[in-house]
């Protein structure tokens, strides 16, 4: 605990490069152009996230990866205080296209975060890999 010594400067939360595999390479290539992709099934018409080579609802492989608008609203959140890098907010936001995705609500006033608050997509660079998507209050 912190009683022991001098106060350390708060470390910055690091964004590690996302692990890319054969199935997800296209997603991270699009991320480099600031495009957030989600899966859309041409067989059952259901959207899904994270995007896969198949539809997790009907198991069809007739799946197309579409670009999300970036508009979303907050479904659930928690402000995390037990953090060596300072408080941060974890959240699920519901994309305008339907899927609820795990994220952080960054660069915004924690006091303004509420369920159903509008949110929008932002990107942040990772350490040497593809950028990582976050959301902020719109």
């Amino acid at each position: 605990m912190s009683e022991q010594g001098e106060k350390k400067a708060p470390a910055v939360r690091r964004i590690f490069p996302p692990a890319v595999n054969e199935e997800t390479a296209k997603f991270w290539k699009a991320a480099e152009q600031g495009k957030l992709l989600y899966g859309h099934c041409l067989a059952c018409n259901e959207p899904h996230y994270f995007p896969r080579s198949f539809c997790p609802f009907c198991f069809s492989e007739r799946v197309e990866w579409r670009e999300a608008s970036g508009a979303a609203k907050v479904y659930a959140y928690s402000i995390m205080y037990r953090s060596p890098t300072g408080p941060y907010t974890i959240a699920y936001v519901e994309l305008a296209e339907g899927p609820r995705v795990l994220t952080n609500l960054v660069d915004c006033d924690f006091r303004k975060i509420a369920i159903d608050a509008p949110a929008k997509l932002v990107w942040k660079p990772s350490e040497g890999g593809a950028p990582v998507r976050f959301f902020t209050l719109a």
Partner: protein, 389 residues
């Protein structure tokens, strides 16, 4: 085929340590196994089935089985659903016994998250290669804040309050005061819970379980073996399990997998939530308890907050005595996995061997239910219903 009446929990042991300095993790597994065998009145070479999960050091069940010197094994199962694994293992052991695959099954759990860095079992390797990893790991998800999101949503949907959640911790602390091994044994008030530091909104420090070293073990036997033993007979009469996930973005944080595992277990047992005299309910966090008791049918969905308030979970006071050992919130959460202690306290209650101050009168029917993994992403629910014979 049903498992009803096909197997008995005849041995149960909770390691008394909460800070296992000078004892290795494999050694803790051994001490737990020995404790459960002695409790049952059996010996090592009676064991022909072995069950363990991700906390067991080594390669599935094989390293521990070899280390323990289990030479008569004819059945192994290392199904991993996090902290609920050991509740699920009892159901699996009953299935194996019913099918004639083994007759004396050992279940062990042990680890040292309190005194050893990384002593809480495996993290990293397998998780880093999970298909969801690249899409979730950047966001600093922890057990605390993922469960906390469920609480935020529950409060939004149903008007649940922090005061109501606090009552769950208060009830656990009332029980823990009688347990000399409990890591925390002071009775706390709702005000004290609310005044404890905020960890992940809306969960305070006292909404969170303890971090302890230790472990436990169970012996599950066939009816023939059970009849040959001198201990009170605790019969397995129903079991259910269900994974719940994020389902391609159709995330619903308002309920847990108990909504699926519970009805299966009750149907197999042929009993209803109203019949249950004692409930061991996984308490990684207060919100975990609240959602599970709703999903198991102890109260209407969304009314859990009202149900737990005013001491309704306190033995001798309320309608649903729960976690009379003090649970994970106060007593013990060995190696960050509280499933086995849930079964152990239910067995104590059914035998009439709980502490007299918390023993439920005529306790002939009990439930042990667990949520392993993360309530906010993917978890494994396991329900077990047991009866005193």
């Amino acid at each position: 085929m049903s498992i009803k009446g096909k197997a008995y929990v005849m041995g149960a042991f909770e390691h008394p340590t909460r800070e296992a300095i000078g004892i290795s993790t494999p050694q803790l597994h051994m001490q737990c196994a020995r404790g459960a065998l002695e409790d049952a009145g059996l010996t090592k070479d009676d064991i022909d089935g072995y069950f363990c999960a991700g906390d067991a050091p080594g390669f599935g069940a094989m390293s521990m089985a070899d280390y323990l010197g289990l030479r008569k094994l004819r059945h192994m199962d290392s199904t991993e659903t996090g902290g609920s694994s050991y509740i699920l293992h009892v159901g699996h052991a009953a299935e194996a016994i019913a099918a004639g695959k083994c007759s004396v099954a050992l279940v062990t759990l042990a680890g040292k998250p309190r005194t050893q860095q990384g002593g809480g079992g495996p993290r990293g390797g397998g998780f880093a290669a999970a298909p969801e990893a690249a899409f979730e790991m950047p966001y600093g998800g922890t057990t605390h804040n993922q469960y906390a999101m469920c609480a935020t949503r529950h409060m939004h949907e149903y008007g649940t309050t922090s005061e109501q959640l606090a009552w769950i911790k208060v009830a656990a602390s009332h029980h823990a005061q009688w347990n000399p091994h409990a890591f925390l044994n002071e009775v706390v008030t709702v005000e004290e819970v609310l005044a404890s530091p905020m960890i992940a909104t809306p969960l305070h420090r006292m909404d969170c379980c303890v971090v302890t070293d230790g472990g436990g073990a169970l012996i599950v036997t066939s009816p023939e073996v059970a009849r040959s033993l001198k201990r009170p007979k605790v019969k397995v009469i129903g079991a259910g399990e269900a994974p719940k996930g994020t389902y391609g973005g159709k995330v619903d944080l308002t309920f847990s997998g108990a909504a699926w595992s519970g009805p299966k277990a009750f149907a197999e047992a042929g009993v209803t939530p109203k019949d249950i005299k004692y409930a061991s309910i996984y308490d990684s966090f207060t919100i975990t308890v609240l959602m599970q008791i709703e999903d198991l049918g102890f109260c209407e969905k969304g009314k859990g907050g009202k149900f737990v308030a005013d001491g309704n979970l306190i033995s001798g006071v309320g309608k649903l005595p729960f976690n009379t050992d003090g649970g994970g919130l106060c007593n013990n959460h060995p190696t960050n996995r509280g499933g086995i202690t849930k079964v152990i306290e239910a067995v104590r209650q059914l035998r009439g061997e709980a502490h007299p101050k918390v023993q439920v009168a005529n306790c002939d029917l009990a439930i042990a239910h667990g949520t392993g993994g993360s309530l906010g992403t993917r978890h494994g629910a396991a329900t077990l219903i047991m009866e005193r014979e």
